[in-house]
Every structure is written in structure tokens, then in C-alpha cells.
């Protein structure tokens, strides 16, 4: 008997149909991958299963009995645990308080037993010993942790509830390989215990590494469910996209000009150590390596969000004092973050306002005509194939991938000459990625220079002309031409991670 079955689920938000004809069956002892492009409804389906949304139509059965949850609390009581893509952590509370939120160990008089809470958390943290970082302890404040550490804490929080059905929504997005391995070990243990796992990911290799079965959704509908052994990468991509597409492998060469657009020399800050590079006109320079080795910090420093303590930055040969984002914008530098919830979108404001934010920041006049702004923004909206019900709808109504498109369109509208992309495709579907790569190619041919940090190594190697490998805030290797291979990248990133010198020596461009 299936442990969980959702059938004929329909959900509508205003005029947009998010789900119509969604099915999902979950057996015990199963890891079930749920894939589909962004906006296909998989997150909505999971929210319905988790009780945080109510379905308009459809049936949800747990152990063969129909259930309907009034809220996440009831779903949790029924044994459903959720790893939320946007995390459900309270930044100002400690790791212990977060992991056991709502389930604090009780002592005398029903009061929270703080010692037991700390000990239980220490035991939970031990599960991820070696991949979590020494600075993470029960009393650490979550706001002080990095993105990957927060994701691991969210995993521990889900596991602490001892759920029978677990939904992992993009649980590995910010994790490096070792961390992913540790999470997979936990998921396999759940499976051994007869529990069922729904695993949502955009990384195809994770589907084939971990899942027993896979369900593909497209446009709110379940289009395919198959045992993993009976399907292939191409078949899944085909089901997701709905039409034949050229293979994901893309390798095109830009022809960067000799002129240097952005030059950094000996940059140093809290997270950067003597970083030097030259970005040429029309070039895509990749920033790779393990997670959190200073790639994001470099981009944010160049945009003037984080302070630079040492070194110089030159834009077109003239020194840049990155005093703040406005100064960077005046030099035609734009910054797109993959962490859209934190740095990208104004969630409750209309899509339109989100789109024109950067245009307005540049505007010198006191008043601007809305129609005129719409005229400026529309070509970019169309180029990125943004899906929305109305420009006046709040941006929070869009799926993650579409929100990301809003942020990208916002910056394209100001026609930057240097584009800083900070993991821009995090949690974005294949189709949107292809749209974005095409846009990047187009921009490069127009002479725009791009600094790209990506957590997707394959993407980085395929898209960037050169890749700088970071470790501990330093550039430990530069890969160009034929050296741009996964093996070379991992060698450089991991060799230095153990303190040994990189085996791939830096090559001149």
C-alpha cells in the first residue's frame, strides 16, 4: 500500500492555474524524485501535501485514509516533514532552538530542559561532523552561519521531527559535494527505515544517484512516473520541456577583445586574500571551486556591498572606489544574486516595481511616466520569457525561476557593461537556464563583460571562457581552453582544500 497518494490535485492562484491533474504516489522504502521546470507546480504540490496550502480539488491519502490538513502543524503531527527551499529557520535564534523548534525537550513543570536541548542538538550535529564546519555548535546564532551551513541545519531540523514522509525541496542547492554526500547518507538511512522521501532537485545526476522512482511535472500536471532504471536523462529532460531540445552540452567560444574592462589587483578583505585578475571586454570569467571560498564575497565587494580593505580595482583603466552600489552602478556595473529572497526581490511589491527598480535608481528626473518605463522593460521581459498574470501582481506570486528572471531583467534594462552574476541559476529550470545562457552570449557579443560565479560546475565550465578556482579567499588556479574540465576543476579545488598546492598550475590567458 502506498504511504502517501495525491491524486487529481488542482490549485489556482487568482487567474493562474498552478496545478491541474497532479498525481503523486509514494511507497515506503522509496526515494521519489520530483522534477520539472520552475513554475511546473512541484513546489505547490509539496505545499499542499505539507499542509501550508489547501487544494481546490483533489484527494490526499495517507496510509490509504483520506486526510486534509488545516495547516503545517497538522501535517507535521501526521508525520510529514518538509525541507523548505527558502528554509524555515529563525535567524536570530540559536541552532539548538531552531532544530527543535516546537519540539523542545520538556523537563520539570513542562518547562524547556535547556541541557537536554543542547545535548540533543549536539548529537544531531554529530551526524554532519566533518561537513558542517567547526564553528557550528548548539548555541551558535543561525544568522552567523553561511548558506550551506543553514541548509544542513534545516536538514537536521527536518530529521529531528522523526517524520515518516519527508519532502526535500532543493535541499542540496548550496551544498558542496561532501555535504551532498552526507545528506544523501541520511536520506538513504530514512529509506532503510521504511520511510518515504520526495526529493526535488534541478540536478539530474542527483536524480540518478539517489532516486528509486521519478515523477516529472509540466505546467501543473504529472506527465511521467517511472522507475529510475527504466528512464534516462534525455527522457526526463524531454518530459520536462515537452519538446525535443538539443543536448545540454554547449561549448561555444567568445572572442573577447584585448581591452581590459575590469582589473583587480591584490584585493583583500575579511573573506578575500590577494585576488588579482583581468576581465576583458566580451569575456565571461568564471569563479569556481568549493562553496563559500570567497566567490560571492568578491562579487559583492566589487559591487560595493562589502568593504575592500586592500588592493585596487580599475574599470576601463580608471580606479574604482566601490563606496556603494550606486557608485558601482554609475560605472555600469550590475549585480544579480542567486539568493533572490535575501538580495533580489521586494516580495510584496508588484512585479512592475521590481522590474524598474534599477532604472529608477538611475533616473535623475523627479517624475517618470509609467508607460515609458513599460516600453523600456518589455523587450527584456519578452527576451527572458517571463511568465506572469499581471505586472501589478506581487512578485512573491511568481515561482522562484520567474522571480530570478525579474531580477535579471531589472539589470539588463540599465544596459550594464560589466555584469556580476552570483550563482544566477540557483534553483532555476533547464529551459530558463538555456534562455539565460543565450542572453549572456548575446551580451558578450555586444561587448559586455561578465563575472560569473556558479555552484553548478558543469555550467561554469561550459559557459565561462576562463575559470578562476577559489580556495579560502585566494585564487589557487586558473583554467582556460582545454583545461576547463571537471577533473581539473576538482583537482584544483580539492587539492588545495587539503592544504596541498594545486596540481593544475595557473595558465596565462
Amino acid at each position: 500500500m502506498p504511504i502517501l497518494e495525491a491524486s487529481g490535485v488542482r490549485k489556482q492562484f487568482g487567474g493562474v492555474v498552478a496545478l491541474d491533474g497532479a498525481h503523486l504516489t509514494l511507497e515506503p522504502h522509496e526515494v521519489h524524485a520530483l522534477v520539472g521546470s520552475n513554475g511546473c507546480g512541484k513546489s505547490t504540490l509539496c505545499k499542499i501535501i505539507a499542509g501550508s496550502l489547501a487544494a481546490d480539488e483533489g484527494r490526499l491519502e495517507l496510509d490509504g485514509r483520506e486526510v486534509s490538513f488545516a495547516g503545517p502543524r497538522e501535517a507535521a503531527a501526521a508525520g510529514i516533514g518538509v525541507f523548505y527551499q527558502d528554509l524555515s529557520l529563525i535567524p536570530e535564534m540559536t541552532v539548538a532552538e531552531n532544530v527543535y523548534l516546537g519540539r523542545e525537550p520538556r523537563g520539570a513543570g513542562g518547562l524547556v530542559d535547556r541541557v537536554a536541548l543542547r545535548d540533543a542538538t549536539a548529537r544531531a550535529l554529530a551526524q554532519f561532523r566533518g561537513v558542517l564546519g567547526a564553528d557550528v555548535h548548539a548555541e551558535a546564532r543561525v544568522a552567523d552561519l553561511s548558506a550551506d551551513q543553514c541548509q544542513l541545519i534545516e536538514v537536521l531540523k527536518v530529521l529531528a521531527a522523526d517524520p515518516r514522509v519527508v519532502i526535500f525541496d532543493e535541499a542540496t542547492a548550496a551544498l558542496d559535494r561532501n555535504q551532498v554526500g552526507a545528506v544523501f547518507t541520511r536520506i538513504r538511512a530514512l529509506k532503510e527505515q521504511g520511510r518515504a522521501v520526495i526529493f526535488i532537485t534541478h540536478r539530474m545526476d542527483e536524480v540518478f544517484e539517489l532516486a528509486d522512482r521519478v515523477t516529472v511535472m509540466r505546467n501543473g500536471r504529472t506527465v511521467l512516473t517511472a522507475p529510475i532504471a527504466a528512464t534516462s536523462r534525455d527522457a526526463l529532460v524531454q518530459a520536462m520541456v515537452g519538446e525535443a531540445i538539443a543536448g545540454a552540452a554547449r561549448d561555444r567560444r567568445h572572442e573577447p577583445a584585448e581591452t581590459v574592462a575590469l582589473e583587480a589587483q591584490g584585493l583583500g578583505s575579511a573573506k578575500l586574500d590577494n585576488v588579482s585578475f583581468a576581465l576583458r571586454r566580451g569575456e565571461i570569467l568564471g569563479l569556481g571551486g568549493l562553496h563559500g571560498q570567497g566567490q560571492s564575497d568578491l562579487l559583492r565587494a566589487l559591487f560595493g556591498v562589502l568593504p575592500i580593505v586592500r588592493g585596487t580595482v580599475r574599470v576601463d583603466g580608471h580606479p574604482l572606489a566601490p563606496s556603494g552600489p550606486r557608485a558601482a552602478m554609475r560605472r555600469s556595473i550590475a549585480y544579480v544574486s542567486g539568493d533572490r529572497a535575501r538580495f533580489g526581490v521586494l516580495a510584496i511589491r508588484p512585479i512592475f516595481e521590481n522590474l524598474v527598480l534599477s532604472l529608477l535608481a538611475r533616473e535623475r528626473r523627479w517624475a517618470v511616466a509609467r508607460k515609458k518605463l513599460e516600453g523600456v522593460i518589455t523587450p527584456f521581459v519578452e527576451r527572458l520569457k517571463l511568465k506572469f498574470s499581471s505586472l501589478q501582481a506581487p512578485v512573491s506570486e511568481l515561482s522562484g525561476g520567474n522571480q530570478q528572471k525579474v531580477v535579471i531583467a531589472r539589470w539588463l534594462a540599465v544596459v550594464p557593461s560589466i555584469l556580476l552574476l552570483d550563482d544566477p541559476t540557483k534553483g532555476i529550470d533547464i529551459q530558463t537556464k538555456q534562455d539565460l545562457y543565450a542572453t549572456m552570449d548575446q551580451l558578450c557579443s555586444q561587448g559586455v563583460s561578465i563575472l560569473l560565479h556558479s555552484s553548478d560546475d558543469e555550467e561554469l565550465l561550459a559557459v565561462a571562457d576562463r575559470v578562476l578556482v577559489f580556495n579560502g579567499g585566494r585564487v589557487v588556479a586558473e583554467l582556460s581552453g582545454e583545461q576547463r574540465t571537471r577533473v581539473a576543476l576538482y583537482q584544483a579545488a580539492y587539492a588545495s582544500a587539503r592544504g596541498a598546492p594545486a596540481e593544475v598550475t595557473a595558465a596565462s590567458p
Binding site: S88, L89, I90, E92, M93, L101, G102, L111, V112
Partner: protein, 317 residues
């Protein structure tokens, strides 16, 4: 760095420093400040504001605000005095009056909580409006200050039990209550709600119940403040609590509790209330013109708040 870290763990440390500084200044200006009787009378004078601030703290920790707290004080004050006066000041009337007063405060807080957490009204608007209603009822019950309670009430309030002033006993009792609450699962849920309401909801925290609980506690403490004022003034006044709303918010913020929720606690708010009281003392004993009181009070509060902001920056920088 160490100081910044410790203010994060104990956000009331800055308030404690300001409090001690004001104690020193007050002692210089008024050498009798440290005498037992004077200290006890100061506690008696500051207690109502401290009580309202304690209640307000719980609401603010959930990132809400209670702008009706002061008017609940007024309402409870006039209702209790009217009941005692109307029933002739017997022992039964006093007990009944106090019980009704506490129940009224709880009911008013519950009403606020329902408006905010169930009907989803904006906390500022909802409690501002309900405050006008409470103030209106208070004026309707007792249009102008007056009526008397029997001497036993204010004698008990200003008196002592086993050598310990009643007001100090009350303060110790509410601190004990706050300690109890701070260790309850409710308090964890409360801070989670204030820290990130959506995440708390998704984590299964009963957010609506928690917010209603916080407003109810605020109503209860406003009622306690109303009773304390009955003991302090021995009469009813429909306008007595009006100024307490904003001073309670000020005390909460001075005490290191963040208006955005999650961070802070009751200890800071008590210190904050005492700071506000001591500022008035200092102004009085420094023989500054009464008209300066508002200005100086405002400047001291601004300085204290700026100090907190600077420290927070140091921590992030």
C-alpha cells in the same frame, strides 16, 4: 568585540549601564536616594510603568505592538475604583473589584489578540483603535477623576510584609513569572514568531495562538498596572494610563528589545522603565525647569538608543 558579543547575548547590558549611571547622578543630586524608604517609594512610583513595559515586551517579541496598553490601565483603574466605591469599600468589594479588574485586562488583551492574529488587522491600527474604545469606556464609567478606595488598599500597597515593601514583593513576583515564562515552550514559539513568522508557521508553531497569548499577557500586566495605580493614588482617573503606552514602548526599546521581534527580554524592559523614572527624578532634583523635562527626557532616550545602534554596528562591522 567582546562587549558587542555580550550585548547580543544580553541585550539589556546597555540599559543596565545607563541605569547605574543615573543612580549615581541621582545619588549626587539627592543624597537620600539610597535610603530604604526613598528607594521603596521610587519602586512604587515606577512600578506601573514597569508592569506595562513587561506586558509590552511579550507583544514586541512577537514583532507586534500594543498601543492600547495605557488605556487598559485607565479602564481597569476606573472600573476597580467604581466597584469598590459602589459597594461601600468592604473587603468583599475590594476582592471582587481586583478580580474583575484582572479579568477585564485579560479580556481586553484577548480582544486585541483576536483582532490581530485571527482577523489579521495591522497591529498598530488595531490596537490604536481598540485603545480609543477602551479610553472611551473608561471616560463613560468615570467622566472625571475622583472616588475613593478605603485606606486599607493604599496602606497595603505602600506598606510592607515581613519588612519587605509590598511593591518590591510585587516586582519580585513578576520577575519570577517572567523567569517561568522565559523557560516555557511558549517563549520559544513567541521568539520564533517574531523572528520569522512565515518560517515559524511552516515549522508548526501555532502562530495565531502565540500572538493572542502575548496580547493577553500584555492585557494582564496592564491590569496589574491599573491595580498598582489604585494602590498608589487611592482613587480613579480615566486618563491616568494614557501616557503609559508610549513610555512602555520606549522602556522596551531602551531595554534592548528589538521592535522587529525575537531579540530582547523582560529584564531590559524593567530597567528601561526605571531609567525613564530616574530621568524625571534627576530633572526634578537638579532643579531644572519642569518645561525642560520633555526635551531632556527625549535627548537622553535618543542618546541611549544611539548607543545601542552603534554597538550593533560594531558587532557587524
Amino acid at each position: 568585540m567582546n562587549l558587542a558579543l555580550s550585548t547580543r547575548r544580553r541585550p539589556y547590558l546597555l540599559a543596565l549601564a545607563v541605569f547605574l549611571l543615573l543612580c549615581v547622578i541621582n545619588t549626587i543630586l539627592q543624597p537620600s536616594f539610597l535610603r530604604f524608604g526613598v528607594a521603596a517609594s521610587n519602586v512604587a512610583a515606577f512600578l506601573p510603568m514597569a508592569l506595562v513595559a513587561i506586558g509590552q515586551t511579550y507583544v514586541v517579541l512577537a514583532s507586534d505592538i500594543d498601543l492600547s496598553a495605557g488605556t487598559i490601565v485607565s479602564l481597569v483603574n476606573v472600573v476597580v475604583v467604581s466597584i469598590i466605591d459602589g459597594m461601600g469599600g468592604s473587603g468583599v468589594s475590594i476582592a471582587l473589584g481586583f478580580a474583575v479588574g484582572l479579568a477585564l485586562g485579560i479580556a481586553a488583551g484577548l480582544f486585541n489578540g483576536l483582532c490581530v492574529a485571527v482577523l489579521r488587522f495591522q497591529p498598530i491600527v488595531a490596537t490604536f483603535a481598540s485603545g480609543i474604545v477602551f479610553a472611551g469606556i473608561a471616560l463613560w464609567i468615570l467622566p472625571e477623576a475622583g472616588k475613593q478606595v478605603p485606606p486599607v488598599v493604599y496602606e497595603a500597597y505602600s506598606g510592607a510584609l515581613l519588612g519587605v515593601p509590598t511593591v518590591v514583593l510585587i516586582l519580585l513576583a513578576v520577575i519570577g513569572f517572567a523567569q517561568f515564562v522565559a523557560r516555557s515552550p511558549f517563549y520559544y514559539a513567541l521568539r520564533a514568531t517574531g523572528g520569522n513568522m512565515q518560517a515559524a508557521y511552516q515549522s508548526g508553531v501555532p502562530v495565531a495562538r502565540v500572538r493572542i497569548g502575548a496580547y493577553t499577557i500584555s492585557g494582564l500586566f496592564s491590569a496589574l498596572a491599573g491595580l498598582a495605580l489604585v494602590g498608589e493614588t487611592a482613587s480613579g482617573d480615566p486618563l491616568i494610563g494614557g501616557a503609559l503606552t508610549l513610555s512602555s514602548v520606549t522602556a522596551v526599546v531602551l531595554g534592548g528589545t528589538a521592535l522587529k521581534g525575537c531579540i530582547g527580554g523582560v529584564a531590559g524592559s524593567i530597567l528601561g522603565a526605571f531609567i525613564l523614572g530616574l530621568i524625571n527624578n534627576v530633572i526634578f532634583f537638579a532643579q531644572l525647569p519642569f518645561e525642560w523635562q520633555g526635551l531632556i527626557q527625549g535627548l537622553i532616550i535618543l542618546a541611549a538608543l544611539a548607543g545601542g545602534v552603534v554597538m550593533a554596528r560594531g558587532k557587524n562591522g
